[in-house]
Subunit: 223 residues, 3 copies
């Protein structure tokens, strides 16, 4: 564990809270996708759980850590509670706008949590940054693939960039010696700010299509 | 291993038989999807194998057990044999109806097998129930995602509910002290009965659409 | 390690080079899919990385080896470099034809690398062959699922067959005592030759549709 100067106890407690918060907001986004597709309560629970724990599950498999929720049923129970709440509260117009903002909170929290967990287990800093990114985006990827809807990766808006900024800043600040909380808050804040600006102004990076006018027979597939 | 009162030998033998049976019926369902899409014999084998072992593979990764089929080639060979059989036998009208019933047998067996394996490795009972559910449904999820067809999660019929009933009943009966076989038969029977009723009568839980009349621009995506 | 007669050092060096080569060509195929869908530079990198390391990641999870790129950031950096190159070079007509040939090189290299790594860790030879196949095809499967395009499994062309030939020949030759390089070159060459013939002549195996004229309401789903 080359870059943890905090006591492990404190780190774990901090991670645990951020982790539960991230899981909860992602669970809400999963449940809202189920609502959008007019699913039943069981499917609400399924999508809440898959979306809530999917990214962290992939992270733990990749870094060979015990999958975080298997021996801690609380995580899945939080997801199921959120699904139940969403079932009773989601029938309002604010839900679609809420989805984007919940998701923004979730990816910002998970960018930091995913990277922090990997760092604390001695994973190479570059890969630890990747783990932050994967933790942040793969819950949503799995949600979208299973719901049969276009996933955000193929949409054109600043999204992955926000997780790169958040995870990269956190890992960089830890490497130069900052302690967990300031580094974590900086990473979280930067990711959320960038994503918020992208949501409000519909920002996106230049796409390959804007750069090259060459057409292909496949290009309308995702338009 | 808090809840195994059976000798491990007997448990393993029982699990092994149920496991092979579940793998075989799921392999058949995978091969029938390949038939439906008019694939070649290699793809029959591929879908049979993926569907047959997919759910159990996810379970083993999540609970950090060695993936069950890697050092036991018999599992994949059973899948390939089933694929070959399906190639020669599947050109009949009964195949589409057969698919639902094979699948019903498979999810009932795997609800119990998945939960039993997790329990026998000391996994928390709540998560062991989840492992039964995941083992039962993820072979089919992977099959449907790879075949590019809408997966059952977004269809509106009692399906996951049957696996919850089967895995939950099995784990509950084991927790109150019942031995493997009666608990297993009760779980298997309850899951199969509920799924059979759903197939015959087209039962489904109330959906979010029936509860809330609010419309969204995305709702026809899966209709 | 029953079938490694080479010094492990030599094997590892050979594997490492083949592995980087396979990762690089798959990364290129991933970046070209991003180009086809007119994505931004971040998504180029994402698809390059996912496609480059996806198959090997699944292999390592299945055989319970440390995921190969996590502690070696070079792999992902190669992918990102390739994505950057593709961003500046991909706007030409040759790119779609190039995709098929890069992919052919990639599956041939990975058929051998995947099987060799599994054999060297003592995995059963039959499963080692499967690992070669999985390593070769799952990067592309994940790429296609995430890009929302029909994956090659459901297309009708000799593809998986080439990986079976390559991985099977390599494992067979190793089992009868051949050393790594001749066995590896034979496997690589056979896989590439078969795939090349399939690309040039559009070869495919007989499909279930040609064998059985029975129609189903679902069959046009993938036509």
């Amino acid at each position: 564990m080359p870059v943890t100067d905090n006591p492990v106890e404190a780190l774990n407690t901090a991670l645990l809270w951020l982790d539960y918060a991230g899981v909860a907001v992602f669970a809400a986004s999963g449940a809202l996708v189920a609502a959008r597709h007019k699913q039943d309560i069981i499917t609400f629970g399924f999508f809440a759980a898959i979306t809530g724990v999917g990214g962290g599950t992939l992270r733990d498999l990749l870094i060979d850590a015990p999958v975080f929720w298997v021996q801690r049923p609380g995580y899945i129970m939080v997801c199921l509670g959120i699904a139940l709440l969403a079932w009773f509260l989601a029938g309002f117009n604010w839900r679609f706008r809420a989805l984007a903002w919940l998701d923004a909170l979730g990816i910002s929290a998970f960018s930091v949590v995913g990277a922090a967990k990997a760092l604390s287990l001695g994973v190479h800093p570059f890969s630890a940054m990747l783990m932050g990114i994967f933790t942040a985006i793969f819950g949503g990827v799995i949600r979208d693939v299973l719901a049969g809807q276009p996933n955000f990766i193929v949409r054109r808006e600043i999204y992955i960039s926000a997780t790169i900024l958040g995870a990269g800043l956190f890992v960089g600040l830890r490497l130069v010696g900052l302690s967990f909380w300031p580094a974590g808050l900086a990473g979280f804040g930067a990711a959320f700010a960038l994503r918020a600006v992208a949501i409000v102004y519909g920002l996106h990076l230049p796409s390959f299509g804007q750069k090259s006018p060459h057409e292909s027979p496949h290009e309308d597939k995702l338009s």
